[in-house]
């Protein structure tokens, strides 16, 4: 137990050192980005992810339904054909906090991810993609319908 703990401590120290010296990318040692997840707008999320502006790009595709039967589960997929795609983020503009999830890709990753997010209401969904150090964005509206007897 003690040994394991010591080993873990040693590893952490090494990883820290590696990150500091740039031996591994920042992404692999990333802490959960609280500031980004608290941000309210696309711009603020972008800033807290270290970007300043994001160009619209048709090289990013959002795979999401036009209408979601229920806002509790909205499937959102992001595919990028931008070379050197490093990072992806899914944002829901009208949610209390815009950022739903972000993905840190490795050199082996395909530039694709799919997950499911909650949407409080009909809103734009943005996919932010960082490729070769630069940020890009694409947007799609998803309508959330009222369902069932409860209205």
């Amino acid at each position: 137990m003690n040994l394991k703990r010591r080993e873990a401590l040693r590893l952490t120290a090494i990883i820290g050192l590696m990150a500091a010296t740039g031996l591994i990318s920042q992404a692999e040692a990333a802490e959960w980005n609280k500031v980004a997840f608290d941000a309210k707008s696309l711009d603020d999320v972008l800033k807290s992810l270290g970007g300043s502006s994001a160009d619209k790009s048709s090289a990013i595709t959002i795979n999401a339904p036009d209408i979601a039967e229920n806002g509790a589960v909205v499937p959102v997929g992001v595919t990028s054909t931008l070379p050197k795609t490093q990072q992806m983020a899914i944002l829901v503009e009208k949610n209390p906090s815009a950022l739903a999830a972000q993905f840190l890709l490795s050199a082996d990753s395909e530039a694709f991810v799919a997950s499911r997010v909650k949407m409080g209401q009909t809103s734009n969904v943005h996919a932010l993609v960082k490729a070769d150090g630069k940020w890009y964005v694409t947007t799609k509206e998803v309508k959330v319908t009222l369902g069932g007897c409860g209205g």
């Binding site: 992404a27 692999e28 990333a30 959960w32 980005n33 997840f37 509790a72 589960v73 909205v74 499937p75 997929g77 829901v92 949610n95 209390p96 906090s97 950022l99 739903a100 999830a101 972000q102 993905f103 840190l104 890709l105 490795s106 082996d108 990753s109 395909e110 694709f112 991810v113 799919a114 997950s115 499911r116 997010v117 909650k118 949407m119």
Partner: protein
């Protein structure tokens, strides 16, 4: 202890397609219980995927990821029979690791 997740990994043409289902409430921190008290946020924060000792993918989730989260990603370099290992950690520091053999 957290409930197990379901991990599926399939190799096709050198690309491994990984699908993960996690059992987690993903409580937003916005909802109130019957007595009007706010239910504190409880959600997965980070997820890492490794194959052959190498991290191949990482995700960070906010509370807006759906309950019982689903995640699908792809990576190169895995072969049939290799093991993909997925670990998530939540904001209460609960964690869970599960594995799947690439088929």
């Amino acid at each position: 202890m957290a409930d197990p997740m379901r991990v599926r990994a399939q190799e096709n043409g050198g690309v491994v397609d990984v699908k993960v289902l996690m059992k987690h409430d993903m409580e937003t921190g916005q909802r109130k219980d019957a007595s009007g008290k706010v239910i504190p946020a409880h959600h997965i924060t980070t997820l890492t995927a490794t194959c052959k000792g190498k991290q191949v993918f990482e995700a960070q989730f906010g509370p807006a990821v759906s309950k019982d989260p689903f995640l699908n990603f792809k990576f190169k370099g895995g072969a049939k029979g290799d093991t993909v290992s997925i670990t998530w950690v939540d904001n209460k520091n609960d964690k869970r690791t599960d594995e799947a053999k690439i088929s």
